[in-house]
Symmetry: C2
Subunit: 223 residues, 2 copies
């Protein structure tokens, strides 16, 4: 048992060192990175697709896709003509910095303004692993229920933006939005809170503005 804990601690220490190296590497290339975390099926890939389609003339987005088994999400991104690298975790439930660091070798950093990392769909383990990202995004979709911030507090506590996705489904499910918002604010008063539906387009401008502000923190954003 002692050995097990020792190994886990070592894994985290190595991860954090590599994450720092990624951070330096991305800073040198002047590319901010966003780490998208959510449950499976919350709409991470759709949010990335929307961003690529809408920002392609102004922000060159590269994508790292984490998945336990397939390349389906990477294929969706590649279909839009954006540079994408697939990390297949071979059954692993989260991305780690060493995997991201190797994936970066396959991206032309000089040709990018922004890196988006789609983590493995999981609300628990991805939170523990620094990937050298500039910003963390927590995504929850309406059908998952308003209890998720209370049940997975660390994800929300460490997020820079919380995206409430699939808001077009609000009329059809029992989702207590004031309670959700209150729980998020209780855990993290400073996070941006966005309401989005990639299906209807509602709130998409807020998501795009948030991404633009990540790329150009000093520029005037909004329209």
């Amino acid at each position: 048992m002692t050995m097990e804990i020792h190994v886990v601690q070592k894994v985290m220490k190595v991860n954090d060192e590599i994450a720092q190296a990624i951070r330096s590497r991305l800073e040198a290339a002047r590319i901010p990175a966003v780490n998208l975390m959510s449950a499976p099926g919350s709409g991470k890939t759709s949010l990335i697709e929307t961003a690529i389609r809408s920002l392609r003339d102004t922000v060159r987005i590269g994508v790292i896709e984490g998945d336990p088994d397939t390349t389906r999400d990477a294929e969706r991104i590649a279909a839009l003509g954006a540079p994408v690298v697939q990390i297949n975790t071979a059954g692993g439930c989260h991305l780690e910095a060493n995997l991201v660091n190797r994936a970066l070798d396959d991206l032309d950093l000089d040709a990018l303004d922004l890196l988006v990392i789609e983590n493995v769909g999981n609300l628990v383990c991805p939170v523990e692993f620094d990937l050298g990202e500039t910003r963390r995004a927590a995504i929850i979709s309406i059908p998952e229920g308003h209890d998720k911030p209370a049940k997975y507090p660390k994800l929300f506590r460490t997020a820079d933006v919380v995206i409430l996705n699939k808001i077009d489904l609000l009329p059809y499910v029992d989702f207590d939005e004031p309670r959700f918002t209150g729980d998020v604010r209780g855990l993290n008063p400073d996070a941006s809170l966005l309401r989005v539906s990639c299906r209807t387009g509602e709130g998409v401008l807020g998501w795009l503005d948030w991404l633009r502000a990540v790329v150009q923190p000093t520029a005037q954003v909004g329209r």
Copy 2:
């Protein structure tokens, strides 16, 4: 690295031994156990609530609730008067047999006909850990998307029943049900496939019949 792999293998070996002990313990008490696995927010707790409410006069259900941080789901079950034990995984993303074995000490097995174990919401890691269950249930809800069997094949390959939940949301999302069903059948031709909405009640009888058949495999089920 070698040490790490060695430790992981040891963890799995110990888990499987404890799972066998659980299996013997439950067989001695003549209690079948169902291990419910899904993403967060797919409706595991609602399916258990529905079963407790509908079967309370004929099947005495005990519940073990796995959650990384809160006791919210256990409170929902306790509110229905069913025996429930909460396992708090303290941030862990799956249940392991040793946790279930300890939880069993807190249940009066003589007063139960069926044990339902709600795993931590996660489509990856829970699949690897035998909990001594008699049956495995994989639950996917409509808003999560039809691509989940292809992306998380092991969950579907090892399931005895696949429950497509929240089917009341079919009109409002892009879910290709024939493709979903085809993918599930390709991975696992023998699993029962149920369509359920706990909200409208559609398909709930199928879920109850499936549970009755787990409790009394030789009895005539259906109505």
